[in-house]
Protein backbone atom coordinates (compact mmCIF):
# COMPACT_ATOMS: atom_id res chain seq x y z
CA UNK A 1 0.00 0.00 0.00
CA UNK A 2 2.85 2.37 0.89
CA UNK A 3 4.40 1.66 -2.49
CA UNK A 4 1.18 2.40 -4.33
CA UNK A 5 0.77 5.74 -2.48
CA UNK A 6 4.33 6.71 -3.43
CA UNK A 7 3.89 5.46 -7.01
CA UNK A 8 0.64 7.41 -7.37
CA UNK A 9 2.27 10.66 -6.28
CA UNK A 10 5.42 10.16 -8.37
CA UNK A 11 3.30 9.14 -11.35
CA UNK A 12 1.39 12.42 -11.09
CA UNK A 13 4.62 14.45 -10.91
CA UNK A 14 6.32 12.68 -13.80
CA UNK A 15 3.43 11.91 -16.15
CA UNK A 16 4.29 14.66 -18.66
CA UNK A 17 8.03 14.02 -18.65
CA UNK A 18 10.16 12.32 -21.26
CA UNK A 19 11.27 8.76 -20.62
CA UNK A 20 14.82 9.46 -19.44
CA UNK A 21 13.86 12.38 -17.20
CA UNK A 22 10.89 10.47 -15.77
CA UNK A 23 12.99 7.54 -14.59
CA UNK A 24 15.58 9.71 -12.87
CA UNK A 25 13.09 12.06 -11.20
CA UNK A 26 11.01 9.10 -9.99
CA UNK A 27 14.07 7.47 -8.43
CA UNK A 28 15.12 10.68 -6.68
CA UNK A 29 11.65 11.50 -5.33
CA UNK A 30 11.13 7.95 -4.09
CA UNK A 31 14.41 8.10 -2.17
CA UNK A 32 13.40 11.42 -0.67
CA UNK A 33 9.96 10.20 0.42
CA UNK A 34 11.43 7.09 2.04
CA UNK A 35 14.26 9.06 3.73
CA UNK A 36 11.80 11.61 5.01
CA UNK A 37 9.31 8.98 6.18
CA UNK A 38 12.01 7.08 8.07
CA UNK A 39 13.20 10.27 9.77
CA UNK A 40 9.65 11.23 10.76
CA UNK A 41 8.90 7.75 12.06
CA UNK A 42 12.14 7.73 14.10
CA UNK A 43 11.27 11.14 15.52
CA UNK A 44 7.92 9.77 16.74
CA UNK A 45 9.33 6.40 17.75
CA UNK A 46 6.98 4.52 15.44
CA UNK A 47 7.34 2.38 12.32
CA UNK A 48 6.84 3.83 8.84
CA UNK A 49 3.19 3.43 7.88
CA UNK A 50 0.71 4.80 5.38
CA UNK A 51 -0.10 7.80 7.58
CA UNK A 52 3.56 8.82 7.82
CA UNK A 53 4.02 8.44 4.05
CA UNK A 54 0.91 10.50 3.36
CA UNK A 55 2.17 13.21 5.71
CA UNK A 56 5.55 13.29 3.96
CA UNK A 57 3.85 13.52 0.58
CA UNK A 58 1.72 16.39 1.84
CA UNK A 59 4.88 18.20 2.89
CA UNK A 60 6.30 17.68 -0.60
CA UNK A 61 3.58 19.90 -2.07
CA UNK A 62 0.93 19.30 -4.75
CA UNK A 63 2.13 17.00 -7.55
CA UNK A 64 0.93 19.36 -10.30
CA UNK A 65 2.87 22.25 -8.78
CA UNK A 66 6.09 20.24 -8.52
CA UNK A 67 5.64 18.92 -12.06
CA UNK A 68 5.19 22.46 -13.39
CA UNK A 69 8.42 23.58 -11.74
CA UNK A 70 10.59 21.05 -13.55
CA UNK A 71 12.39 22.41 -16.60
CA UNK A 72 10.92 20.79 -19.69
CA UNK A 73 13.59 18.62 -21.24
CA UNK A 74 13.56 19.21 -24.95
CA UNK A 75 13.71 16.01 -26.91
CA UNK A 76 15.82 15.73 -30.05
CA UNK A 77 12.65 15.92 -32.12
CA UNK A 78 11.56 19.22 -30.59
CA UNK A 79 15.06 20.62 -30.72
CA UNK A 80 15.67 19.63 -34.32
CA UNK A 81 12.61 21.51 -35.56
CA UNK A 82 11.66 18.59 -37.78
CA UNK A 83 7.96 19.38 -37.52
CA UNK A 84 8.62 22.86 -38.79
CA UNK A 85 10.64 21.49 -41.71
CA UNK A 86 7.80 19.14 -42.68
CA UNK A 87 5.24 21.91 -42.31
CA UNK A 88 7.34 24.22 -44.50
CA UNK A 89 7.72 21.55 -47.21
CA UNK A 90 4.01 20.77 -47.11
CA UNK A 91 3.25 24.51 -47.33
CA UNK A 92 5.47 24.89 -50.40
CA UNK A 93 3.83 21.82 -51.99
CA UNK A 94 0.35 23.25 -51.42
CA UNK A 95 1.44 26.62 -52.81
CA UNK A 96 2.75 24.94 -55.97
CA UNK A 97 -0.46 22.95 -56.33
CA UNK A 98 -2.56 26.10 -56.01
CA UNK A 99 -0.46 27.83 -58.65
CA UNK A 100 -0.78 24.78 -60.93
CA UNK A 101 -4.55 24.69 -60.46
CA UNK A 102 -4.85 28.42 -61.16
CA UNK A 103 -2.71 28.14 -64.31
CA UNK A 104 -4.84 25.26 -65.58
CA UNK A 105 -7.97 27.26 -64.85
CA UNK A 106 -6.83 30.53 -66.41
CA UNK A 107 -5.12 29.10 -69.51
CA UNK A 108 -6.24 25.52 -70.00
CA UNK A 109 -4.15 23.55 -72.51
CA UNK A 110 -1.55 26.30 -72.92
CA UNK A 111 0.46 25.83 -69.79
CA UNK A 112 1.28 22.13 -69.91
CA UNK A 113 5.00 22.62 -69.33
CA UNK A 114 4.72 24.76 -66.15
CA UNK A 115 2.00 22.47 -64.78
CA UNK A 116 4.18 19.46 -65.51
CA UNK A 117 7.11 21.14 -63.73
CA UNK A 118 4.89 22.00 -60.78
CA UNK A 119 3.74 18.39 -60.52
CA UNK A 120 7.38 17.27 -60.54
CA UNK A 121 8.29 19.76 -57.80
CA UNK A 122 5.29 18.67 -55.74
CA UNK A 123 6.29 15.02 -56.17
CA UNK A 124 9.85 15.83 -55.05
CA UNK A 125 8.50 17.68 -52.02
CA UNK A 126 6.20 14.79 -51.18
CA UNK A 127 9.18 12.44 -51.35
CA UNK A 128 11.16 14.77 -49.06
CA UNK A 129 8.27 14.76 -46.58
CA UNK A 130 8.15 10.97 -46.63
CA UNK A 131 11.92 10.70 -46.04
CA UNK A 132 11.88 13.26 -43.21
CA UNK A 133 8.88 11.54 -41.66
CA UNK A 134 10.71 8.20 -41.80
CA UNK A 135 13.71 9.71 -40.00
CA UNK A 136 11.31 11.33 -37.56
CA UNK A 137 9.63 8.00 -36.84
CA UNK A 138 12.95 6.22 -36.35
CA UNK A 139 14.11 8.82 -33.83
CA UNK A 140 10.74 8.75 -32.11
CA UNK A 141 10.94 4.98 -31.75
CA UNK A 142 14.46 5.28 -30.39
CA UNK A 143 13.48 7.97 -27.88
CA UNK A 144 10.27 6.38 -26.72
CA UNK A 145 11.13 2.69 -26.79
CA UNK A 146 14.81 1.86 -26.66
CA UNK A 147 15.62 4.38 -23.96
CA UNK A 148 12.75 3.20 -21.77
CA UNK A 149 13.59 1.67 -18.42
CA UNK A 150 13.02 -2.03 -17.77
CA UNK A 151 9.88 -1.25 -15.71
CA UNK A 152 8.51 0.92 -18.50
CA UNK A 153 9.09 -1.78 -21.08
CA UNK A 154 7.45 -4.37 -18.84
CA UNK A 155 4.45 -2.10 -18.33
CA UNK A 156 4.16 -1.57 -22.09
CA UNK A 157 4.45 -5.27 -22.75
CA UNK A 158 1.67 -6.03 -20.26
CA UNK A 159 -0.48 -3.33 -21.80
CA UNK A 160 0.08 -4.53 -25.37
CA UNK A 161 -0.67 -8.12 -24.42
CA UNK A 162 -3.79 -7.19 -22.46
CA UNK A 163 -4.96 -4.95 -25.33
CA UNK A 164 -4.54 -7.85 -27.75
CA UNK A 165 -6.69 -10.18 -25.69
CA UNK A 166 -9.21 -7.71 -24.27
CA UNK A 167 -12.89 -8.59 -24.93
CA UNK A 168 -13.52 -5.02 -26.13
CA UNK A 169 -10.78 -5.27 -28.77
CA UNK A 170 -12.06 -8.71 -29.82
CA UNK A 171 -15.64 -7.39 -30.12
CA UNK A 172 -14.55 -4.36 -32.16
CA UNK A 173 -12.45 -6.51 -34.49
CA UNK A 174 -15.30 -8.97 -35.06
CA UNK A 175 -17.76 -6.14 -35.75
CA UNK A 176 -15.39 -4.55 -38.27
CA UNK A 177 -14.77 -7.90 -40.01
CA UNK A 178 -18.53 -8.58 -40.27
CA UNK A 179 -19.07 -5.06 -41.59
CA UNK A 180 -16.26 -5.47 -44.17
CA UNK A 181 -17.61 -8.86 -45.31
CA UNK A 182 -21.15 -7.46 -45.62
CA UNK A 183 -19.92 -4.54 -47.73
CA UNK A 184 -17.75 -6.63 -50.03
CA UNK A 185 -20.38 -9.38 -50.52
CA UNK A 186 -23.36 -7.12 -51.07
CA UNK A 187 -21.87 -4.17 -52.86
CA UNK A 188 -18.75 -5.34 -54.71
CA UNK A 189 -20.45 -5.02 -58.11
CA UNK A 190 -21.49 -1.44 -57.36
CA UNK A 191 -18.28 0.03 -55.97
CA UNK A 192 -17.64 3.09 -58.18
CA UNK A 193 -14.23 4.34 -59.22
CA UNK A 194 -12.88 7.20 -61.33
CA UNK A 195 -12.16 6.01 -64.87
CA UNK A 196 -9.62 8.76 -65.41
CA UNK A 197 -8.27 11.53 -63.21
CA UNK A 198 -9.08 14.20 -65.83
CA UNK A 199 -12.33 12.75 -67.11
CA UNK A 200 -14.15 12.44 -63.79
CA UNK A 201 -16.47 9.64 -65.05
CA UNK A 202 -17.19 6.83 -62.60
CA UNK A 203 -17.37 3.14 -63.51
CA UNK A 204 -17.59 -0.08 -61.53
CA UNK A 205 -14.28 -0.95 -59.89
CA UNK A 206 -14.41 -4.73 -60.34
CA UNK A 207 -15.13 -7.08 -63.26
CA UNK A 208 -17.39 -10.16 -62.67
CA UNK A 209 -14.18 -12.18 -62.32
CA UNK A 210 -13.77 -10.70 -58.83
CA UNK A 211 -16.75 -12.78 -57.68
CA UNK A 212 -14.47 -15.83 -57.81
CA UNK A 213 -12.38 -14.41 -54.96
CA UNK A 214 -15.34 -13.87 -52.62
CA UNK A 215 -15.41 -17.41 -51.11
CA UNK A 216 -11.73 -17.07 -50.15
CA UNK A 217 -12.28 -13.60 -48.68
CA UNK A 218 -15.24 -14.93 -46.66
CA UNK A 219 -13.28 -17.97 -45.50
CA UNK A 220 -10.36 -15.85 -44.29
CA UNK A 221 -12.80 -13.43 -42.59
CA UNK A 222 -14.62 -16.29 -40.82
CA UNK A 223 -11.32 -17.83 -39.68
CA UNK A 224 -10.21 -14.46 -38.31
CA UNK A 225 -13.46 -14.18 -36.32
CA UNK A 226 -12.87 -17.65 -34.87
CA UNK A 227 -9.27 -16.74 -33.99
CA UNK A 228 -10.47 -13.53 -32.28
CA UNK A 229 -13.00 -15.52 -30.24
CA UNK A 230 -10.23 -17.91 -29.17
CA UNK A 231 -8.45 -14.94 -27.52
CA UNK A 232 -11.35 -14.78 -25.07
CA UNK A 233 -12.15 -18.48 -24.83
CA UNK A 234 -8.81 -20.22 -24.25
CA UNK A 235 -5.96 -19.66 -21.82
CA UNK A 236 -3.14 -20.27 -24.30
CA UNK A 237 -3.42 -16.86 -25.99
CA UNK A 238 -0.43 -17.57 -28.23
CA UNK A 239 -2.50 -20.10 -30.22
CA UNK A 240 -4.94 -17.56 -31.74
CA UNK A 241 -2.00 -15.18 -32.25
CA UNK A 242 -0.24 -17.84 -34.36
CA UNK A 243 -3.49 -18.54 -36.26
CA UNK A 244 -3.94 -14.82 -36.99
CA UNK A 245 -0.37 -14.61 -38.18
CA UNK A 246 -1.02 -17.50 -40.60
CA UNK A 247 -4.26 -15.84 -41.73
CA UNK A 248 -2.38 -12.64 -42.50
CA UNK A 249 -0.01 -14.64 -44.69
CA UNK A 250 -3.11 -16.12 -46.37
CA UNK A 251 -4.55 -12.64 -46.88
CA UNK A 252 -1.28 -11.49 -48.37
CA UNK A 253 -1.27 -14.42 -50.82
CA UNK A 254 -4.88 -13.71 -51.75
CA UNK A 255 -4.03 -10.08 -52.51
CA UNK A 256 -1.06 -11.27 -54.59
CA UNK A 257 -3.44 -13.54 -56.51
CA UNK A 258 -5.84 -10.64 -57.08
CA UNK A 259 -2.88 -8.57 -58.28
CA UNK A 260 -1.94 -11.23 -60.83
CA UNK A 261 -5.51 -11.84 -62.02
CA UNK A 262 -6.31 -8.13 -61.88
CA UNK A 263 -10.13 -8.37 -61.85
CA UNK A 264 -10.52 -4.62 -62.31
CA UNK A 265 -12.28 -2.74 -65.07
CA UNK A 266 -10.27 -2.82 -68.35
CA UNK A 267 -11.48 0.71 -69.06
CA UNK A 268 -9.07 2.19 -66.52
CA UNK A 269 -6.21 4.25 -67.94
CA UNK A 270 -2.69 2.80 -67.46
CA UNK A 271 -2.07 5.39 -64.72
CA UNK A 272 -5.16 4.37 -62.72
CA UNK A 273 -4.36 0.67 -63.23
CA UNK A 274 -0.80 1.29 -62.02
CA UNK A 275 -2.12 3.11 -58.94
CA UNK A 276 -4.42 0.17 -58.14
CA UNK A 277 -1.46 -2.20 -58.46
CA UNK A 278 0.62 -0.06 -56.10
CA UNK A 279 -2.23 -0.10 -53.57
CA UNK A 280 -2.50 -3.90 -53.87
CA UNK A 281 1.24 -4.30 -53.28
CA UNK A 282 1.02 -2.05 -50.22
CA UNK A 283 -1.92 -4.06 -48.87
CA UNK A 284 -0.03 -7.33 -49.39
CA UNK A 285 3.03 -5.87 -47.65
CA UNK A 286 0.80 -4.62 -44.83
CA UNK A 287 -0.55 -8.13 -44.28
CA UNK A 288 2.99 -9.55 -44.23
CA UNK A 289 4.09 -6.97 -41.67
CA UNK A 290 0.94 -7.77 -39.67
CA UNK A 291 1.82 -11.48 -39.83
CA UNK A 292 5.32 -10.78 -38.48
CA UNK A 293 3.92 -8.59 -35.68
CA UNK A 294 1.38 -11.22 -34.67
CA UNK A 295 4.02 -13.92 -34.68
CA UNK A 296 6.13 -11.74 -32.38
CA UNK A 297 3.12 -11.24 -30.10
CA UNK A 298 2.53 -14.99 -30.13
CA UNK A 299 6.13 -15.53 -29.00
CA UNK A 300 5.68 -12.96 -26.21
CA UNK A 301 2.42 -14.57 -25.11
CA UNK A 302 4.06 -18.00 -25.19
CA UNK A 303 7.12 -16.85 -23.20
CA UNK A 304 5.17 -14.87 -20.61
CA UNK A 305 2.45 -17.52 -20.44
CA UNK A 306 -0.39 -15.05 -20.14
CA UNK A 307 -0.70 -11.76 -18.35
CA UNK A 308 -0.66 -12.90 -14.75
CA UNK A 309 2.78 -14.46 -14.97
CA UNK A 310 4.23 -11.57 -16.97
CA UNK A 311 3.02 -9.13 -14.29
CA UNK A 312 4.82 -11.12 -11.67
CA UNK A 313 8.25 -10.85 -13.35
Amino acid sequence: MIDSIIDGYIGEVTKEMGVSQRGEVAKELRTHILDSAEALAAERNVAVDEGIVREVIERMGPAEKIAAMYPSRETFLKKSQMWKAIQALAGIAVAFLVIGALLSLVAPGQVDVPVHTILMVVSALALAIVVISAIFMAIYLYESRLKATYEERLKRLNKSLSDLTSPLKVALTIISIVFWLAIINLLWQRIPFLIDLQDGRMISLFTPEFGGFLPYINLLGACTIVAELLFVLIRQKWVPAVIESALDVGNSLLVAWIYLSFPFSPEFTPLIAAMIKVVLILIALGFLIGAAQKLWKAAQLFIHGGLESSKAI
Binding site: V13, T31, H32, D35, Y70
Partner: protein, 113 residues
Protein backbone atom coordinates in the same frame (compact mmCIF):
# COMPACT_ATOMS: atom_id res chain seq x y z
CA UNK B 1 -4.40 39.52 1.87
CA UNK B 2 -3.05 36.18 3.06
CA UNK B 3 -3.01 34.96 -0.54
CA UNK B 4 -0.98 37.94 -1.70
CA UNK B 5 1.45 37.51 1.18
CA UNK B 6 1.81 33.81 0.48
CA UNK B 7 2.49 34.39 -3.22
CA UNK B 8 4.98 37.15 -2.49
CA UNK B 9 6.79 35.05 0.09
CA UNK B 10 6.89 32.07 -2.28
CA UNK B 11 8.45 34.20 -5.02
CA UNK B 12 11.11 35.65 -2.74
CA UNK B 13 11.79 32.28 -1.14
CA UNK B 14 12.26 30.58 -4.49
CA UNK B 15 14.98 33.04 -5.47
CA UNK B 16 16.64 32.93 -2.07
CA UNK B 17 16.43 29.15 -1.99
CA UNK B 18 18.52 28.87 -5.13
CA UNK B 19 21.31 30.90 -3.57
CA UNK B 20 20.98 28.99 -0.29
CA UNK B 21 21.27 25.70 -2.17
CA UNK B 22 24.38 26.97 -3.95
CA UNK B 23 25.89 27.85 -0.57
CA UNK B 24 25.04 24.47 0.94
CA UNK B 25 26.48 22.60 -2.01
CA UNK B 26 30.02 23.70 -1.33
CA UNK B 27 30.28 20.04 -0.37
CA UNK B 28 28.42 17.09 -1.87
CA UNK B 29 24.90 16.56 -0.51
CA UNK B 30 21.75 14.71 -1.53
CA UNK B 31 18.17 16.04 -1.58
CA UNK B 32 16.96 15.11 1.89
CA UNK B 33 20.22 16.31 3.43
CA UNK B 34 19.83 19.69 1.67
CA UNK B 35 16.26 20.11 2.93
CA UNK B 36 17.31 19.29 6.50
CA UNK B 37 20.09 21.86 6.34
CA UNK B 38 17.77 24.47 4.84
CA UNK B 39 15.30 23.91 7.68
CA UNK B 40 18.07 24.18 10.27
CA UNK B 41 19.05 27.49 8.66
CA UNK B 42 15.45 28.67 9.02
CA UNK B 43 14.43 28.36 5.38
CA UNK B 44 11.31 26.20 5.49
CA UNK B 45 10.22 24.99 2.07
CA UNK B 46 7.75 22.62 0.51
CA UNK B 47 10.10 19.70 0.17
CA UNK B 48 9.12 18.75 -3.36
CA UNK B 49 10.04 22.16 -4.72
CA UNK B 50 13.73 21.57 -4.06
CA UNK B 51 14.14 18.89 -6.72
CA UNK B 52 13.01 20.94 -9.73
CA UNK B 53 15.36 23.69 -8.53
CA UNK B 54 18.26 21.25 -8.33
CA UNK B 55 17.38 20.01 -11.80
CA UNK B 56 17.26 23.51 -13.20
CA UNK B 57 20.60 24.45 -11.62
CA UNK B 58 22.11 21.29 -12.99
CA UNK B 59 20.78 22.04 -16.48
CA UNK B 60 22.42 25.45 -16.20
CA UNK B 61 25.75 23.79 -15.29
CA UNK B 62 25.73 25.49 -11.88
CA UNK B 63 25.61 22.09 -10.19
CA UNK B 64 26.94 18.71 -11.11
CA UNK B 65 25.62 15.43 -9.80
CA UNK B 66 26.33 11.74 -9.47
CA UNK B 67 24.33 8.73 -8.35
CA UNK B 68 25.62 6.74 -5.40
CA UNK B 69 24.06 3.31 -5.26
CA UNK B 70 25.70 2.02 -2.10
CA UNK B 71 23.53 2.17 0.99
CA UNK B 72 19.88 1.32 1.50
CA UNK B 73 18.68 3.20 -1.59
CA UNK B 74 20.21 5.11 -4.53
CA UNK B 75 20.94 8.76 -3.83
CA UNK B 76 21.78 11.57 -6.18
CA UNK B 77 24.55 13.76 -4.80
CA UNK B 78 24.96 17.33 -5.96
CA UNK B 79 27.90 19.72 -5.70
CA UNK B 80 28.51 23.22 -7.01
CA UNK B 81 30.70 23.58 -10.12
CA UNK B 82 33.44 26.18 -10.64
CA UNK B 83 31.07 28.06 -12.93
CA UNK B 84 28.41 27.82 -10.20
CA UNK B 85 30.82 29.31 -7.68
CA UNK B 86 31.30 32.35 -9.92
CA UNK B 87 27.55 32.80 -10.25
CA UNK B 88 27.08 32.29 -6.50
CA UNK B 89 29.66 35.01 -5.71
CA UNK B 90 27.87 37.51 -7.95
CA UNK B 91 24.44 36.55 -6.62
CA UNK B 92 25.53 36.90 -2.99
CA UNK B 93 26.98 40.33 -3.73
CA UNK B 94 23.76 41.29 -5.47
CA UNK B 95 21.63 40.00 -2.57
CA UNK B 96 23.73 41.92 -0.05
CA UNK B 97 23.42 45.07 -2.10
CA UNK B 98 19.64 44.63 -2.36
CA UNK B 99 19.46 43.99 1.38
CA UNK B 100 21.44 47.20 2.10
CA UNK B 101 19.20 49.15 -0.28
CA UNK B 102 16.06 47.82 1.45
CA UNK B 103 17.54 48.75 4.81
CA UNK B 104 18.16 52.32 3.62
CA UNK B 105 14.64 52.52 2.20
CA UNK B 106 13.20 51.18 5.44
CA UNK B 107 15.13 53.76 7.48
CA UNK B 108 13.86 56.48 5.17
CA UNK B 109 10.33 55.16 5.55
CA UNK B 110 10.58 55.15 9.36
CA UNK B 111 12.12 58.62 9.34
CA UNK B 112 9.24 59.95 7.24
CA UNK B 113 6.77 58.60 9.83
Amino acid sequence: MDDILERFEAEVKRGVMQVAVMCLLQRERYGYDIIRSLKEAGIGVEEGTLYPILRRLEDERILSSRWVTEGPRPRKYYVITEYGKEIRGKLLASLKSISRAIEILEKGMNGAD
